[in-house]
């Protein structure tokens, strides 16, 4: 039996009878002289952390990698309202599995924009907002980016430094150039406000600027209301096009309106803007891929045309969006009781995160970890930029089996009260000795 490359099982003997061996004329996907050899793609940094965690055998291991909510017991959570919505959808005799429209259902879109922009929002009332259901945050960003690449004259996207790694990936895949603007200040572990404003002032007129609506990923550092006002002013001055990424509305402070304040500030100021919304975290619908893309334009007639183009882009990508998650979201947002219950459960998740921050901070004080750890309390949302260096992070992982990304980011959602002391000790050890 012929051997394949060393260590790999041979594929030369097929199980199917009568099958001929590989014909000499077979043209492999990567055979063409004109194509580069298909190389193995680098492993995704964030998901790689979870894989390493799974492989680890230390009973004290801690997964502070991926940003999915965990309960105090470290378990994933499906919200009670989501289970109830599931039951209702299943029991509905009219429910079928037919295609939904390319832009999702009108109800879903209307409910999503009301959630984001608020009930009395001017752009909504004036019909200036074109919205389609998108494949969670990623899919919404992608369709928005493709739309801009096609129709927007300035092919430059400004991304905060640091940001979610996939932002750069998505916009470059759309054929747009990307550039960073200063955001995080390592010295303070807070916002580099002066740097941010200076970089936006320097940007070419009309550049697209990515803004995290709340709970900045990966740092957890958000502008204050005054600082948001300052950002608005420079955006207006430089005629930049804001593209909001809202993945944590309600998840950051526990209050939907408060977490939507920045979006609403810009929308109510009369700006044209884009918004990518995700229900992955705030409704725990991670795997169902539900989100929405909105484009606010100058008037209703333009908005209609924009809407048709968004749909055309989505059409060539996946025809129409997945139905199941959208049915759950619609059921929850359209029923006053379910909506009220959702807000309670959402606040419950946000409160647990806030409590973890407090408990970790307290533990760090207790063990006497050197340095100022108040940023743990000032930052908001699921993630915290600890400020740990690469060497320190390696120590965390190798010695203490605390799995986190190399940039020093930890997911507060992966923490529980009982583990705070252990984590504090690990941090103290890493800071002191690495």
């Amino acid at each position: 039996m012929a051997q394949g490359p060393a260590g790999t099982p041979s594929t030369a003997r097929p199980r199917q009878t009568g099958r001929k061996p590989v014909a000499s004329g077979a043209h492999s996907a990567i055979d063409s002289a004109r194509s580069p050899q298909v190389i193995i793609a680098p492993a995704d940094a964030i998901l790689g952390v979870t894989e390493a965690f799974k492989a680890c055998t230390n009973p004290n291991k801690l997964n502070l990698g991926v940003g999915a909510y965990r309960t105090e017991e470290g378990r994933p959570l499906v919200l009670g309202v989501v289970r109830e919505a599931e039951r209702r959808v299943l029991a509905d005799p009219r429910q079928d599995k037919e295609y939904i429209g390319t832009g999702g259902t009108p109800d879903f879109c209307r409910l999503s924009t009301t959630l984001a922009f608020g009930e009395g929002s001017r752009p909504l009332q004036e019909g200036r907002c074109a919205t389609i259901q998108g494949l969670s945050g990623t899919g919404s960003l992608r369709v928005g980016g493709k739309f801009l690449a096609h129709f927007y004259p300035v092919k430059l996207v400004l991304i905060p430094s640091p940001s979610w790694a996939n932002h750069k990936n998505i916009f470059e895949r759309c054929g747009l150039a990307t550039q960073t603007y200063r955001y995080y200040k390592p010295e303070t572990r807070g916002l580099d406000y002066e740097g941010l404003i200076a970089d936006l002032k320097d940007a070419p007129e009309g550049a697209v600027v990515i803004l995290h609506a709340c709970a900045h990923n990966p740092t957890g550092v958000d502008p204050t209301p005054e600082q948001w006002q300052g950002v608005l002013e420079v955006v207006q001055q430089r005629r930049l096009l804001p593209f909001f990424d809202s993945a944590y509305q309600g998840f950051a402070s526990g209050d939907l309106d408060r977490d939507g304040a920045a979006i609403r500030l810009f929308a109510d100021a009369g700006l044209e803007l884009l918004l990518a919304q995700s229900y992955a975290k705030n409704m725990g619908l991670y795997g169902e891929r539900v989100g929405a893309l909105s484009v606010i334009s100058s008037d209703a007639a333009v908005s209609k045309r924009v809407d048709s183009q968004l749909k055309a882009t989505a059409f060539g990508m996946y025809l129409n969006p997945p139905k199941h998650g959208a049915l759950l979201v619609t059921a929850i947002l359209s029923d006053p009781e379910l909506y009220a219950q959702w807000k309670v459960e959402l606040k419950g998740m946000a409160d647990r995160i806030l409590s973890m921050r407090q408990q970790l901070f307290d533990a760090l004080q207790e063990v006497g970890a050197p340095g100022d750890w108040s940023h743990i309390l000032k930052q908001i949302g699921m993630f915290s930029y600890t400020g740990l260096t690469k060497a320190q992070v390696e120590n965390m992982t190798n010695k203490w089996s605390v799995f986190m990304t190399m940039d020093g980011r930890i997911s507060m959602a992966g923490l529980s009260g009982t583990k705070c002391k252990y984590l504090a000790e690990a941090i103290k050890d890493s800071v002191e000795n690495c």
């Binding site: 099982p9 003997r13 199980r15 199917q16 099958r19 061996p21 014909a23 043209h27 492999s28 996907a29 990567i30 055979d31 063409s32 004109r34 194509s35 298909v38 190389i39 793609a41 995704d44 994933p76 499906v78 989501v82 599931e86 299943l90 079928d96 599995k97 037919e98 295609y99 494949l135 969670s136 945050g137 990623t138 899919g139 992608r142 129709f151 927007y152 004259p153 990936n169 895949r173 209301p225 005054e226 006002q229 408060r258 304040a261 109510d268 100021a269 009369g270 991670y286 795997g287 169902e288 100058s298 333009v302 055309a312 882009t313 060539g316 990508m317 996946y318 025809l319 129409n320 997945p322």
Partner: protein
């Protein structure tokens, strides 16, 4: 400054604005004023018009979604059972970028064979995708990145979105002949001829079964020939299989093209959709796979497939994959599903038969010329031939060399004498005299009809049976769609006069046909094609 607990915007509004709250648009029309309305997808436009029509007898033969005999959408029982089992039982965590692994393996076995060596040998790079569209799009992007310079050969006609997909992925397309308008079948010769001239490394898009929109599939022998040709010319097959099980009712049989190519040693790409065969249209569940040289290459290719998926949607939706996995991994449910797919396919096949029978009962399956027929170059209907030259209207057409069974000489015609210039059944025919085709206004010549030429003339005065519109293709074609051969103008009449909605290329979705409306459909089709 303490953050207020109430609405943040109120706090922000209290601060003085630097600029007046005027609009900051680049121009009066803002940044997007120049954006034009996107062209409508032809299929969706049909459904929209259908929905707006108040006629209670309206029929939607546009979009390809299965309907039962009462015209209602169907959720399969096996799907309902899978749903019940799945609801409340799972977390909704992110799937990996490549999707649900067992689902992918189930799909690959369904397509390539339960015992397929390539699957067991880990030679197949596969990821869960957003139904057929998502698979095709991922492949198009893969082709653009890793098969640079190669073009996509797309059959004519094809599903309209194929063009959008490869264009949006910025891969150049070349059209290859597929459908033969005259025979309403496959133009195999011209197809092979064009493909044989394609440069090595070109990618050829093939519909694995139940070609959309024509319903015309290659025979087994033709698939074998094509496979060998493509090996010889080093062409890369990309199979789009959206109807496995739905065409003949037999999943194994419908995958024959894939198996033939696989057995011949092709490395191929495959787009699988569960939208139709499991009725999971809205769930967007499919599988995109590429058969590679070996496990190492499969790993590399799969990692690159994921690299394309990540900036598109990060990871695929969960629900549909759970349902499919339930069904394919449970022997009982799987058997139940096989039965349901067969039922759907059988209903379609029976509708084809009924429609053809109805059409043939309505009009003569052929028109007896009894004399020379004036044939138009534009279409296969000899509209200038009158109906009843010899009065024998209901004899089946016995083929090009068939005789007039039981009819030795033309009978006296019952219809009024034809206008001057058309010969009677006997005697010399003024076949040199030109007439004008009422359909295309081009000069009509005897014996020039490209469709009927093989059947028509054996001599200038030989009375010949000329088939009028033949509806055989309705039962020859397979799958959800039927390419009727109806012209765009006739389609407009069907829609305008009868509220029957279909795409202007004459494609009807057989799924929209049922025992309640087939009669009316046949009548309408007969009327618009015979006047």
């Amino acid at each position: 400054m303490a953050l207020q607990r109430n609405t943040g915007v109120a706090a922000l509004r209290a601060l003085p604005a630097v600029l007046p709250a005027a609009r900051t648009f680049a121009s009066q029309a803002g940044w997007f004023g120049h954006v034009p309305e996107a062209p409508r997808d032809p299929i969706l436009g049909v459904t929209e018009k259908y929905l707006a029509d108040a006629n209670p007898l309206k029929m939607n033969l546009g979009v390809g979604a299965y309907r039962d005999d009462s015209g209602q959408p169907v959720v399969l029982k096996s799907v309902r059972e899978a749903e019940r089992r799945v609801a409340g039982s799972h977390f909704m965590e992110y799937l990996p970028i490549g999707g649900h692994r067992q689902f992918c393996e189930d799909s690959a076995k369904l397509a390539y064979g339960e015992d397929a060596g390539v699957v067991h040998g880990k030679q197949v790079a596969m990821i869960q995708s957003l139904s057929g569209t998502g698979s095709c799009r991922l492949f198009a992007e893969f082709q653009g990145r890793w098969m640079k310079g190669s073009k996509i050969y797309i059959p004519s006609p094809t599903w309209s979105n194929h063009h959008n997909i490869w264009r949006d992925a910025q891969v150049e397309e070349v059209i290859y002949p597929y459908y033969n308008k005259e025979t309403k079948g496959l133009d195999f010769e011209r197809m092979c001829d064009t493909l044989s001239k394609a440069p090595a490394g070109s990618v050829v898009l093939l519909h694995a079964c139940a070609h959309n929109p024509t319903g015309v599939d290659p025979t087994r022998e033709q698939w074998q020939e094509l496979s060998k040709l493509m090996l010889e010319k080093r062409l890369f097959p990309c199979m789009d299989m959206a109807y496995q099980g739905f065409a003949t009712g037999d999943c194994e049989r419908d995958a024959q093209a894939v198996r033939i190519f696989l057995n011949d040693g092709h490395r191929l790409a495959l787009s699988q959709s569960f939208a139709k065969n499991m009725g999971l249209y809205g769930q967007r569940v499919g599988c995109f796979s590429i058969v590679c040289e070996g496990p190492a290459e499969a790993k590399a290719v799969e990692s690159q497939m994921k690299a394309l998926a990540r900036p598109m949607y990060s990871n695929p939706p969960l629900h549909g994959a759970l349902l499919v996995h339930q069904i394919l991994s449970d022997p009982e449910l799987k058997q139940q599903w096989y039965g349901e797919v067969k039922e759907m396919a059988d209903r379609i096949i029976s509708m084809r038969t009924l429609l053809r029978q109805n059409l043939e009962a309505l009009g003569s399956p052929h028109r007896c010329a009894g004399r020379l027929a004036w044939v138009s170059p534009c279409c296969c209907v000899c509209t200038s031939a009158t109906r009843s030259c010899c009065g024998r209207m209901d004899e089946p057409w016995a083929g090009p060399t068939g005789s007039w069974a039981g009819h030795k000489r033309p009978l006296r015609r019952r219809s009024p004498r034809p206008a001057a210039g058309i010969s009677s059944g006997q005697g010399a025919a003024p076949h040199s005299r030109l007439r004008t085709c009422p359909t295309c206004a081009k000069p009509a010549h005897p014996g020039r009809c490209p469709v009927l030429a093989p059947c028509v003339f054996r001599g200038p005065c030989h009375p010949t049976r000329i088939p009028a519109r033949s509806w055989q293709h309705i039962t020859d074609q397979i799958g959800m769609f039927c390419f009727t051969g109806i012209t765009p103008e006739q389609v407009d009449r069907l829609t305008g006069e009868y509220s029957i909605y279909l795409t202007r290329n004459g494609r009807i979705s057989m799924a929209g046909v049922n025992s309640g409306n087939v009669g009316r459909l046949a009548e309408a089709m007969h009327k618009v094609t015979s006047s």
